[in-house]
């Protein structure tokens, strides 16, 4: 039954094996590009920058040898939610009430400015999803963990356990699908005993109690996992206060420096917003401001 099948919804990040320059970037550089890119997509306003970003993302996706179907399919799945968010947004943002008047109904009015906002919001979300899809398509999970370590290592001298942090990320990433499987199994086995987890109309306390048969076993399992894992790590000579070496090392190359520079440039562009004039032309299509 669908209500028990949790794993199928966990299909967001998908690595697409490849050997493009983007795949081969230093994990730290990838993470920086990803962070700065996300920041830029959030900062930039106006359709021009967003369309430009969309084009750039698609070009890079193709250049990295990632089939367009991969990011597009995650976009397609998110689309219904996006539409809901966009509708709510245009109805609740007062500053969007400008431009041509397309009539109204009850307490709602539809103005050109709202349509403009809808278009930019949709574009922005689409950009964000495609960009994250691109990022996860060229970054392996272990690289992600390494990036976390690389970016936090400057703080290691102040006592931040950056290596442990990356280990924690890795283990958490591994255990997430495992736990969702366990949760589904426990949920089903309680359902087999007649449990019903639809708690509509129950008070908070009773709702919590109805879920105890799910939470308690999951907690017990989690503790068992943790204990066993700790033991297995200890058996493999792991101790906390001790340096470690690495199977994969990632020397920083000139390409990585270039990528870092580009990341900074993108954010700068987003802030300076050189396409301002062009945006005003686009806005004019939706009617006069004011």
């Amino acid at each position: 039954m669908e209500q028990f099948d949790v794993t199928s919804t966990l299909q967001f990040a998908r690595y697409v094996p490849g050997d493009s320059p983007f795949h081969r970037l230093h994990p730290g550089a990838k993470a920086l590009l990803l962070l700065f890119g996300l920041a830029a997509l959030i900062i930039v306003h106006g359709t021009a920058g967003l369309v430009l970003a969309l084009a750039l993302i698609l070009v890079v996706t193709l250049a990295a040898g990632v089939p367009l179907a991969v990011p597009l399919s995650s976009l397609a799945r998110a689309l219904p939610w996006l539409l809901v968010i966009v509708v709510v947004q245009i109805l609740t943002v007062p500053s969007a009430r400008w431009g041509a008047d397309y009539g109204g109904w009850w307490i709602f009015t539809l103005r050109g400015g709202q349509l403009y906002t809808a278009v930019t919001s949709l574009l922005r979300f689409a950009d964000l999803i495609l960009f994250l899809g691109l990022g996860s398509a060229v970054t392996r999970v272990d690289e992600l963990a390494y990036a976390g370590e690389a970016l936090t290592s400057p703080f290691a001298r102040f006592g931040l356990p950056s290596r442990e942090l990356s280990l924690i990320i890795t283990i958490a990433l591994y255990f997430t699908p495992l736990f969702s499987e366990e949760a589904a199994r426990i949920r089903k086995s309680q359902a087999a005993r007649g449990a019903d987890f639809s708690t509509k109309g129950l008070g908070l306390l009773r709702r919590v109690r109805a879920y105890l048969p799910l939470f308690v076993p999951l907690l017990v399992l989690a503790l068992h996992h943790a204990e066993n894992l700790a033991r297995a790590m200890e058996a493999r000579c792991y101790t906390v206060k001790m340096g470690r070496t690495r199977l994969h090392t990632y020397p920083v190359r000139s390409l990585d420096v270039v990528a870092g520079g580009m990341a900074a440039a993108i954010v700068a562009l987003a802030i300076l917003h050189p396409a301002h004039g062009w945006d005003q032309t686009v806005q004019a299509l939706f009617g006069p401001r004011g």
Binding site: D142, Q190, P213, A232, M233, Y238
Partner: protein
């Protein structure tokens, strides 16, 4: 000086309070493991096996006594890295040992901790993955591996430490027969190339592979010696263990053979011993060997007229089809890397048609990932078919109108490891959960809980107020089972109910199922163990890659041994042995279902043909013995 030298160690959990006296503890264990040895440590649950294992590389420290590894003392903290590098450890649950995001990173974890330079880590990892047969899977996520592959990855992680010894704590108990066989073969190979193996198990056929066996019971060494000595002399039953099947069988035939069979530890040895005895006994006899397989006189024909209790027709299920039709296919090259096929198939069902008749017992068999659990969950409508239909008692189940909770109560489903679903503080409340939800209360509820608890062998008065989580693993499983039995289901569906149980607990559970069967409960259970199927099932259904490939009365299914082997399923050893003896014309052809049956059949053959018509059993036995003696002179 032995490589691992364990002297008089004691250990108790919980600081030795009187309440914990019953917990698995060690009460003075001494053990010496030499370099290059292959030693098995056997014992029932709670005998202290795991506790001992954890002492061997300093994961636990003894309260008294000492553990020395290659001259290093586990009680000295600065010796621990050296000890753990020398003695590696493999645990029971494959998924609890993985720390890497990729297979190769996981294998590298140990050497990374030892601060090995990265070029050398690379060569160690590559070699270790090659040794365990995971070449080409280095960049996979460990999550994509099968249980057997995960265990082999754990061994690769151990080998990357370049250890001298590997300790395995019930490392095969979560694997299917195929995965088990591969792991055991790997252990023998490693041992041949010089690695010391300490294999902890409660499976005697696995222990028989070792050069020496140590029997633990209640935290003490109860016996120690070569496998043949241990199996022959020690009273294994009193330690909650069983002899290997071949030895058991030869013991049962002893009065016909006068001990001429020796002490065979496996079926091939027993077979050759039997052949020589039979040849001496009646050199010219060549019994007709082409007798047809007899039909088992099960109730199937009689009840066929009634509507089946559950009928699946054309049921299909796939895990992602309904939700994400646009999900792009995995790239082809991902499926098969370096000649190793991905055997963690997504369990899905393809056009399953199955009838479960009231009162029959069905064993559902199949390799891991074949869809057994998915099929079982269709039987009580936890899963509704994406295609095809389900009928219960002749009524089609239509999702929008069917009373699913009532169907689920009538067809009780016991999940794999039911002990993991427990949540209530007290045993009584745990068992009462289901019936209470069904609306039972007061006296009726108490009676129901009492009945269910007694049925699984937990006395109501003394267990109802015990703390659920303080029970032993075996008792917790019984509580889980009682929780479903308390619904008084018409049919009981069990997903690998005996997995991971020690022989004594397994016997108890099988006896319980036998009793329920005799009371008329319909039972459907999945298992890897065909010996179980032979003892309890009327019918065997083999599920492979989501399709029913075989659906026959148990006896006829056993006759298809070769087919079953192709699916990584093994018929009990005595079946194959009797078949080959029959082919040699030494016994009457026919498939035995249980060890008892096999013993009867062989006993009949061991009676001399000219007197087989009707001597008293004693006469036959002495005649047999004489015959052997004469042959031996």
């Amino acid at each position: 000086m032995p490589f691992i030298d364990v002297r008089e160690i004691t250990y108790s959990y919980d600081g030795g309070s009187p309440a914990s006296a019953a917990l698995p503890a060690l009460r003075g264990v001494t053990l010496a493991v030499e370099r290059g040895e292959y030693i098995a440590v056997v014992g029932a649950n709670a005998s202290g096996k795991t506790t001992l294992a954890l002492h061997l590389n300093g994961l636990l420290l003894p309260a008294s006594g000492s553990v020395m590894v290659d001259g290093f003392d586990t009680r000295r903290a600065r010796d621990l890295p050296a000890i753990r590098q020398r003695v590696a450890m493999i645990f029971q649950k494959p998924e609890d040992q993985i720390v890497g995001a990729t297979v190769e990173e996981d294998a590298a974890f140990g050497p990374e901790n030892l601060k090995v330079p990265n070029e050398e880590i690379r060569s160690r990892v590559d070699r270790a993955l090659a040794q365990v047969g995971l070449v080409g899977l280095g960049l996979r996520s460990p999550h994509e591996l099968s249980a057997g592959q995960k265990q082999r990855l754990a061994i690769a992680g151990a080998l990357a430490l370049r250890p001298e010894a590997i300790v395995l704590d019930e490392a095969t108990s979560m694997l299917d027969p195929g995965g088990k066989r591969e792991l055991l073969t790997l252990l023998s190979e490693l041992n041949r190339s010089g690695t010391t193996i300490v294999h902890i198990t409660h499976r005697m056929d696995e222990a028989a592979r070792a050069g020496r066996i140590l029997v633990l019971s209640a935290g003490r060494v109860a016996a120690e010696g070569s496998p043949s000595r241990i199996f022959a002399s020690a009273d294994l039953t009193s330690f909650g263990l069983r002899r290997p099947g071949a030895l058991e069988l030869s013991a049962r035939l002893a009065r016909h053979t006068g001990g001429a069979l020796g002490e065979p530890l496996d079926y091939p040895t027993l077979e050759s011993a039997l052949l020589s005895v039979l040849e001496r006994l009646h050199p010219y006899a060549r019994a007709a060997s082409s007798a047809p397989i007899e039909r088992s006189p099960s109730g199937t024909a009689a009840s066929a007229a009634k509507a089946p209790l559950i009928r699946l027709s054309g049921v299909s299920h796939s895990y992602h089809s309904a939700k994400a039709p646009t999900r792009p296919r995995k790239p082809r090259r991902d499926r098969k890397v370096g000649g190793v096929t991905d055997n963690r198939a997504i369990p899905s069902l393809r056009s399953i048609s199955l009838e479960v008749r009231s009162g029959e017992t069905i064993a559902l068999i199949g390799p891991t990932g074949s869809g057994k659990s998915t099929l079982l969950q269709h039987l009580n409508c936890l899963f509704l078919p994406q295609a095809g239909r389900i009928e219960v008692d002749g009524t089609p189940v239509i999702p929008s109108v069917a009373d699913l909770p009532s169907i689920r109560r009538r067809i009780g489903l016991v999940f794999q490891r039911p002990e993991e679903q427990l949540f209530a503080q007290y045993v009584g409340d745990e068992v009462a959960y289901g019936p209470r939800l069904a609306g039972l209360g007061g006296k009726a509820l108490t009676e129901r809980v009492r009945w269910a608890m007694e049925a699984v062998g937990l006395p109501f008065a003394s267990y109802k107020d015990r703390l659920t989580f303080a029970l032993s693993g075996g008792e917790q499983r019984k509580v889980g089972l009682a929780g479903v039995l308390a619904l008084r289901p018409q049919a009981l569906v069990l997903d690998e109910p005996t997995a991971g149980l020690d022989p004594a607990s397994r016997e108890e559970l099988l006896a319980l199922l036998q009793r329920l069967k005799e009371e008329g409960t319909t039972i459907i259970l999945s298992t890897h163990d065909l010996e179980e199927a032979g003892r309890i099932a009327d019918r065997v259904v083999a599920l492979v890659d989501g399709q029913i490939r075989l659906d026959l009365p148990t006896r006829e299914a056993f006759a298809r041994a070769r087919e079953l082997e192709g699916w990584s399923l093994e018929v009990p050893g005595f079946v194959g042995m009797l078949e080959s003896l029959a082919r040699a014309g030494r016994v009457q052809a026919g498939v035995p279902l249980t060890l008892e049956e096999a013993a009867e059949r062989l006993a009949a053959a061991l009676i001399r043909p000219d007197r087989a018509a009707g001597p008293a059993p004693d006469e036959a036995a002495s005649a047999g013995a004489k015959g052997v003696d004469r042959g031996a002179v």
